[in-house]
Symmetry: C2
Subunit: 208 residues, 2 copies
C-alpha cells in the first residue's frame, strides 16, 4: 500500500522559530521524516516522500520533487494511485501499531484528526476524493467525502493526532518517543523539567 | 465495571479564565461532566463521580464527596475497588467506542496519555498500583507500574487525549463533539472562524 508523505523542504517548522534557528528546524524536520520512514519499515506501507524541493545529498532519503500546492500534489496522487495513505511528516510519535490500525480500516475515506482542526493522516480508497488542507481541514475533508457519497471513518489516535509544530509539542516528543526526533532534541539540549508542578521543556543554556 | 470520575467542584477550568468567568467555567465544567456520563450510559461502565465539594441541587448528578487530594482519593479507590477505570471529567470528545477500546485492553495498568504529559484515563486491574498525578504523570504512572511488576499498556486515543483546559482546546470541542459541552459553547457565542488560513475560536462580542 502506497503511503504518500509530503515534505516541506524549504522552510519547515516555522512555528518552532522561538526555540530553533532555521538550520536546526530543517535538521529536526529531517529527523521527524526519518522517524516516519523507520516506522513504516516493518509495515505493509510503501513510503513515497514528495518534497517541495530537492533534499541535500547528505540526506539520503529517496524522494520525488513537486512544488505544486499540497492539495494539488495529494489530489493528483489520489486520482492516479488510490487506494493510498497520506501521512504528514511531523508525526514523530507514530508507531507501527498505529499505522496497522489505519491500514485495517474499511471506509472509503478514513481521517486521523490532529489537534486544532488539522488532518494528520488519511486512508483514501476511492479516487473521487480530493483534499483541502486549508483551514479546519478535518471538517472540510468530512464534507468533501460526504458530498461525493463516500463513507467516512475516523482513526482515533493520540499518536497520529500529535503533530509537532509548536514549542509545547516538544514535550510530547520527549515523553512518547525514543526515535530520532527525540534523540535529536536531547542532543540539542532539550530536557523535560517541571515548573510549578507542570511539566515543560527547557533547553540547556536557556536563561529562563 | 466501576469508572471513577474525579470532579473539581470548587474552581474548575482555571486556565479558561481568559475566555470564561468563574460562573461560566463552573457551568462549562458541569456540561463536560454530563458529556462523560452520557457517553458511559450505553457502555458497561458504572460511573462514580467523586467531587471535591457538594454540587448545587440544580446539578442533578449523583456524586460522593471527598476533599482529599486527587492521588489519595484515586489510590484508595484502586485499593478498595480494582479493577476499575479512572476517567477525567474534562474529556468532552469521548465516545462509547473509545471507552470500549479502553475496556477491551488486558494489561494490569492501561494509560491514556493527554497532551503535555497528563494521564487522562486509565484502567487499573491490580490493587498494587497507585497514582501520582503531579507533573508529567504519564511517565510517573508507567514507572510506578513497572516498579510493582505490573504490565503496562497504552490506549492510543485522540479523543481520550484531548483534555480541555486552555482556550485553544475549545476549537477541538466544536470540531469533534456535538454533545452538551459543544452546545454550551455555541449558546455562549463561541464560533469556529479562520484567521490567516488557520482555524480559531472567537466569541460573539469579542473585539478581536
Amino acid at each position: 500500500m502506497r503511503a504518500v508523505i509530503p515534505f516541506d523542504a524549504r522552510s519547515p517548522n516555522q512555528r518552532l522559530s522561538a526555540v530553533l534557528d532555521s538550520d536546526e528546524r530543517r535538521a529536526f524536520a529531517i529527523a521527524m521524516l526519518r522517524d516516519i520512514l523507520d516506522t513504516m519499515e516493518p509495515t505493509r506501507f510503501d513510503p513515497q516522500v514528495i518534497a517541495t524541493a530537492t533534499l541535500p545529498d547528505s540526506v539520503s532519503v529517496p524522494h520525488t520533487i513537486d512544488d505544486r500546492s499540497l492539495d494539488a500534489v495529494i489530489t493528483a496522487e489520489i486520482e492516479a494511485n488510490a487506494p493510498l495513505a497520506v501521512v504528514m511528516a511531523d508525526l514523530p510519535l507514530l508507531t507501527p501499531d498505529t499505522l496497522a490500525r489505519l491500514r485495517n480500516t474499511t471506509s472509503d475515506v478514513v481521517l486521523a484528526p490532529g489537534r486544532g482542526g488539522g488532518t494528520n493522516a488519511m486512508m483514501v480508497r476511492d479516487a473521487a476524493f480530493e483534499t483541502d488542507y486549508h483551514g479546519a481541514s478535518i471538517r472540510d475533508h468530512r464534507e468533501i467525502a460526504r458530498e461525493r457519497g463516500l463513507s467516512v471513518g475516523e482513526l482515533d489516535s493520540f499518536r497520529l493526532g500529535t503533530d509537532v509544530d509548536e514549542p509545547a509539542d516538544l514535550l510530547d516528543v520527549l515523553l512518547h518517543s525514543n526515535g530520532r526526533s527525540a534523540e535529536w532534541l536531547e542532543a540539542a539540549g532539550f530536557r523535560l523539567t517541571e515548573s510549578a508542578g507542570r511539566p515543560t521543556v527547557t533547553r540547556a543554556g536557556d536563561s529562563d
